[in-house]
């Protein structure tokens, strides 16, 4: 029951599912739809059971991303709270107009008389064997769009909590999941708790030698790197920022001021990635650093399908460890 706080052992995908069940129960104006999300329960099983429980508020759609997103804008304007799925973030590019030119404008242009309380769930990133059209990390595109909230949970608890927050938010929110996380290890997830406010960062590991800011599935690799570094005597502070809009600049600046070294790690391509924004904010805040800030991401290249090639590009914990080590020993 959504009203009772309880702890359950859930994988990331199950946590998303639990949040959707709760949201559909507590917010009668929610709708859940997208390609294969209804009867089949989603290609990753994340929307399983929703249609059975909530009937025609959950449904499958044609392969029509413009219609999915556009109808979500229209339904949201009229008081519904649609939660739509874009199966891969890459596919949003066939219909980006509806997010950027439509959803993001509704409130502002109407002077607040209309709003578009819709949630777009998608997932992104590279996975073994995935081709160039199924591997991109596109959060930076959405983060350049005023009017759109963006969140990227990486743990089961955040997958649950932040989706609940997103759907309760009265603005369009993009929730970027990652298919490599869905069937990861189960964790104790507190479900049924209060709706948390938007925003906020998480100190996943405290440290004093260097601040590593990160988000998304790569957070796990950053934490592994931090453990490896700790064994060498380097204590990294790992700051995960699942909320990218709003972004907790203060938390980052505060940590960087303490450690006086900054690394930003994301899976997205480096140039034009949101890592640039983080570095620019810290630089703009005049934080004195002991060494130039470092951005770690996928180099500026398309993603090859062969795992052996992709592995040479997507940052792993060994590369993160090495680059942070080099920075600290600088």
């Amino acid at each position: 029951m959504p009203d009772l706080v309880e702890a359950r052992e859930l994988s990331y995908g199950e946590a998303v599912n639990a949040a959707l069940h709760r949201l559909m129960a507590e917010l009668p104006e929610t709708l859940v739809y997208g390609e294969d999300v209804g009867v089949p329960g989603g290609v990753f099983g994340v929307t399983r059971g929703l249609r059975k429980r909530h009937g025609d508020r959950v449904f499958d759609t044609p392969i029509s991303e413009s219609a999915i997103l556009g109808s979500a804008v229209g339904a949201a304007m009229m008081g519904r709270r649609p939660i739509v799925e874009i199966m891969w973030a890459d596919f949003s590019l066939v219909a980006l107009d509806q997010i950027v030119n439509q959803a993001a404008n509704v409130r502002y242009v109407s002077g607040g008389r209309l709003s578009a309380p819709m949630t777009i769930r998608t997932q992104q990133g590279n996975a073994p064997g995935a081709c160039a059209q199924h591997s991109q990390c596109l959060e930076a595109l959405f983060l350049h769009v005023p009017g759109l909230r963006v969140v990227m949970p990486s743990t089961p608890q955040d997958a649950y909590d932040l989706l609940v927050t997103a759907v309760h938010c009265d603005d369009p929110v993009l929730v970027v999941e990652n298919r490599t996380l869905y069937s990861g290890p189960k964790e104790r997830v507190r479900v049924g708790g209060p709706v948390l406010p938007l925003g906020g960062a998480r100190i996943r590991r405290a440290g004093w030698d260097v601040t590593i800011v990160t988000w998304g599935a790569i957070t796990q690799r950053v934490l592994e790197a931090a453990e490896a570094l700790a064994r060498e005597g380097i204590e990294a502070e790992v700051l995960e920022t699942p909320w990218l809009n709003p972004f907790d600049t203060e938390a980052v600046v505060e940590s960087a001021r303490r450690t006086r070294r900054l690394v930003v790690v994301h899976e997205a391509n480096v140039t034009g990635g949101f890592g640039a924004e983080v570095v620019a904010r810290v630089a703009g805040a005049g934080v004195p650093l002991l060494a130039p800030p470092v951005r770690i991401g996928t180099p500026d290249v398309r993603m090859p399908a062969a795992q052996v090639l992709a592995r040479a590009l997507v940052p792993d914990s060994a590369r993160i460890t090495a680059e942070v080590r080099a920075l600290v020993r600088h």
Binding site: A75, D97, S110, R113
Partner: protein, 315 residues
């Protein structure tokens, strides 16, 4: 009967007078930027809005002034919007090509060709769950029929039997390019069959014909029969936007169009029916007077306050 036709004439004259005043204000300076007038196309909003219910949602394009007026949005805040005044329907944020006035059931213009069609599907979908029995109307041009989003919307609405009315204002041009050169099958209404929905090509310069078909389609839609496509044949008497040199016109084209444009036609029809010329022409006078007054008040309103420019981005 002639009463309803006089009412149509008034709606059309209000739109025509509004647009002509806008053209003047654009020339004189108070209105700046790109403006798309619907002069010549007035019969479509006049006929359609007459049979919409308050709960219905209407989505228009940048060529939407006439639709807003016909839907009941008062002229003054529209003028004010176009002039960037604080009293504009969106306080100047929307402008000529992208304003909304949801409180009047006018759910917005749109400046992206075809983008309103999927949004209208969503408004109709919402009506399934909120008990409103809402229908949604989306208006777009002939050129928009070639945009992917419109196709997706038509299939979406048809597959789910959503109460959506797709109104295509076929004014024969997409900006500066004749639609006949951009399609192989020029009867756009026939595309409806692809989606399993009815499609009709109708006389868009006859408000009565528009009313009939819109009412009929809405009835079907509200009873769960799904969407309809209406291709309303019309012509604009003016350029695509103010400033368009209209070099694409054929010799004699504007004359031909002028003879069959909806206001001239309706006026002649009323006179032929024995309505006195004074009564018919009083309509024009009333409409022009209203628009003069509205424009004057709008002109007197304060400009939008730059200090508010960052407000209302987020909840």
């Amino acid at each position: 009967m002639s009463e309803r036709r006089l009412a149509d004439l008034l709606t059309m004259w209000r739109i025509r007078a509004f647009e002509e005043k806008v053209r003047d204000l654009r020339a004189e300076g108070p209105i700046v930027g790109s403006v798309h007038l619907c002069v010549g196309q007035e019969a479509i909003p006049a006929g359609a809005c007459d049979v919409l219910e308050p709960q219905d949602a209407l989505f228009a394009t940048y060529r939407g002034h006439g639709w807003a007026l016909a839907r009941g949005v008062p002229a003054e805040p529209l003028f004010a919007e176009l002039m960037g005044r604080a009293t504009g329907v969106n306080g100047g944020r929307g402008g000529s090509a992208y304003f909304t006035a949801a409180e009047y059931g006018f759910h917005g213009e749109n400046s992206i060709v075809g983008a309103g069609a999927p949004i209208a599907c969503g408004a109709a979908l919402a009506g399934r769950f909120d008990g409103s029995n809402r229908a949604a109307v989306t208006v777009f041009g002939d050129g928009a029929m070639n945009q992917g989003a419109v196709h997706e919307a038509m299939n979406f609405a048809a597959a789910f039997a959503l109460p959506v009315l797709f109104i295509c204002e076929n004014n024969r041009y997409s900006e500066l390019t004749p639609i006949r050169d951009m399609v192989r099958a020029p009867r756009l209404a026939d595309r409806a069959a692809a989606y399993g929905m009815p499609g009709h090509r109708i006389d868009g310069n006859d408000a009565e014909a528009v009313r009939f078909h819109v009412r009929d389609a809405l009835e079907v839609a509200r009873e769960g029969g799904g969407p309809t496509l209406l291709e309303c044949m019309t012509e604009r008497l003016v350029g695509h936007y103010i400033g368009d040199a209209e070099t694409y016109r054929q010799p004699g084209e504007l004359d031909r169009i002028g003879r069959r444009e909806p206001i001239v036609r309706l006026r002649e029809g009323l006179l032929a029916d024995g309505v006195p010329a004074s009564a018919v022409d009083a309509v024009e006078g009333a409409a022009r007077a209203e628009m003069e007054r509205a424009a004057t008040s709008a002109l007197a309103a304060p400009p939008a306050d730059p200090a508010t420019a960052r407000e209302h981005l987020y909840a």
